[in-house]
């Protein structure tokens, strides 16, 4: 029996673990380390209409139990992703979730329309929350009505289910979640990075050339858990959770909070084998905690006893 399989809109996952967008490129590098079909899915690097070089370096800085990045959505552009990356990825029987980014509405629509037509793309992840892009982005991720509109337009052109990726840099995450659900989102992915900064002790200036960057890693996990806990209670679409996941235990905590699958970002840099390791360890953790199937864990933090699936322990 598969105790880890998960059914989500557009996604039939053998297991609920997938690398987070931007932390796994288009899979080429990790494919040399392990068999990519072991993954539940792959969230590929953000794709924009045109190729983007991204921000100047330094692009990463370390923080306590976390890191800042300001890659700036570097990617080869829609054309090349379709011509080279997706066909290459199609050799692996693993669902692809394409991360769609842009500065104006048309960008998102163009990318979503084209990329959702590619055979191995099973879902889109609408990145309305990248903190490292100066123009446009901000409003999409912080104003509910703008997010709703964009979601709606992207849904109209997309051939596959659309997940919207929420920014944690908002006063009211619940409002944002409700707005994208109202816009027709099939699911939510959360959280993107928190905006942060580090200064160089010698020069006094920001370490990142982009000045600010996105904070990720274990440091942000409590914020992610809280937000998923809040959002999962008010929306009826599933959540793919992320933010500081490092271990199988972390995965369970995200499920408890309300997630139905989990993405792993920064931890890939600490241990490039972290995804398969987590997948291997999950059944033992389920045994220890007394669950038959990982889906029993979803929402346990807030569900009433009557709502809970059978629990052995």
């Amino acid at each position: 029996m598969n105790r880890l399989n998960v059914e989500l809109p557009g996604l039939h996952l053998n297991n609920p673990i997938m690398p987070a967008s931007g932390c796994f490129g288009f899979g080429r590098e990790y494919s040399r380390l392990y068999d990519l079909t072991r993954l539940g899915a792959i969230m590929i690097k953000a794709t924009t209409v045109e190729p983007r070089f991204g921000n100047p370096t330094p692009r990463v800085a370390e923080t306590s139990a976390g890191m800042l990045n300001a890659i700036g959505l570097q990617n080869p552009g829609l054309e090349k992703v379709i011509a080279e990356e997706l066909p290459w990825l199609s050799q692996f029987a693993v669902p692809i979730i394409a991360n769609v980014a842009g500065s104006v509405e048309e960008d998102y629509i163009t990318v979503a329309k084209e990329i959702s037509r590619q055979a191995n793309v099973q879902a889109l992840e609408l990145n309305i929350s990248c903190p490292n892009v100066k123009t446009g982005g901000i409003a999409f991720g912080t104003i509910p009505e703008v997010a709703r509109q964009l979601t709606k337009k992207v849904k109209e052109v997309s051939e596959v289910p659309v997940y919207v990726k929420l920014s944690p840099n908002v006063t009211n995450i619940v409002e944002m979640a409700k707005a994208v659900e109202a816009g027709g989102a099939d699911g939510i992915t959360m959280i993107n990075t928190l905006v942060g900064m580090r200064l160089d002790l010698k020069t006094g200036k920001p370490i990142l050339a982009n000045l600010t960057g996105g904070l990720s890693g274990p440091a942000v996990k409590p914020v992610a858990i809280r937000m998923i806990y809040e959002v999962s209670q008010v929306v009826s679409i599933p959540i793919i959770g992320m933010g500081g996941v490092q271990s199988a235990e972390d995965v369970i905590e995200f499920f408890y909070a309300g997630a139905s699958a989990v993405a792993v970002g920064t931890a890939n840099f600490v241990d490039p084998f972290v995804c398969p390791t987590i997948i291997d360890e999950l059944p033992c953790v389920l045994d220890r905690l007394g669950y038959e199937h990982i889906s029993e864990c979803t929402g346990r933090s807030w569900k009433k006893d009557g709502q809970l699936a059978y629990h052995r322990a």
């Binding site: 490129g25 991204g54 330094p58 692009r59 990463v60 990045n69 890659i71 920064t266």
Partner: protein, 257 residues
């Protein structure tokens, strides 16, 4: 192949002020393909510090599955490595990147190796291999001050070795770039601070020059786009190389420093 492995620390000693020489036994030594490759080291089992630290392989011995790293204790990560003791395990990922090309100089030709400070270590294995191949090897090693000098004798075994210090407390006072002018060479290999690399690149546009770059890294394997630099020969700004997987060694002019 890239491996992640718990290597075993064979020895560690401070060979100059805050400069440590660390020898590790690990299976991944078998996969080293060229001098100038590096390993990515996890410095703690916990979450803080989180990221790995890239450190060049200074020399290696495939038979004994041993490699030696030389690093400067500067921040938190390298301080933690400096506390490790023989017998302990160390989590390493590697070998990473592409090293220095050996086939760009032939027997009897002259190779000039120019290192600045903590850019010197990766040149040591290069020097050994070039010398073994029958290439004339010259070295210019620049240090900030006398107490920072290391490996002068080791390099001297392979060929003429000129040491400079910024403050003149040891060897010749001044910049390595001043000395390069005095020497003839067929191929130049260098690693060190960016301004030094830049000066060398600009000074010898017609020569074969290979530079090893440093950049802040995330993954170390080419997936995260943290360590990107712009391709020097590209018209469009969108062309780039990754220091971790396309480098760290580049031909002069290949990328913008």
């Amino acid at each position: 192949m890239i491996r992640k492995e718990l290597g075993k620390i064979i020895s560690q000693k401070e060979i100059a002020a805050d400069i440590y020489e660390l020898t590790i036994r690990a299976e991944l030594v078998e996969d080293i393909s060229a001098p100038g490759q590096f390993v990515h080291i996890r410095v703690s089992n916990g979450m803080d510090p989180l990221l790995r630290r890239p450190v060049s392989i200074s020399s290696f011995n495939k038979k004994g599955k041993q490699m030696t790293l030389i690093y400067r204790k500067s921040g938190r990560g390298t301080s933690l490595i400096a506390e490790m003791e023989p017998g302990m395990e160390i989590d390493i990922l590697g070998p990473l990147g592409n090293g220095f090309p050996l086939d760009e100089v032939s027997i009897g030709e002259t190779a000039l190796l120019v290192g600045g400070g903590i850019g010197i270590p990766p040149l040591y294995e290069l020097s050994n291999q070039l010398a073994a191949k029958g290439v004339h090897v010259l070295h210019i090693l620049g240090f900030p001050t006398e107490s920072a000098v290391f490996y002068e004798q080791e390099f001297s075994k392979n060929g003429l070795t000129i040491v400079t210090t910024d403050d003149g407390t040891y060897g010749r006072k001044g910049f390595v770039t001043d000395i390069i002018k005095e020497l003839g060479f067929d191929c130049l290999y260098t690693c060190g601070p960016a301004p030094m690399l830049k000066a060398i690149e600009q000074g010898y546009p017609d020569k074969k020059v290979f530079l090893s770059l440093e950049e802040r890294m995330g993954c170390g394997i080419g997936a995260c786009f943290a360590c990107v630099c712009q391709s020097g020969n590209a018209a469009s700004g969108a062309s780039y190389k990754k220091v971790c997987s396309d480098g760290p060694v580049f031909r002069a002019g290949e990328v913008l420093i």
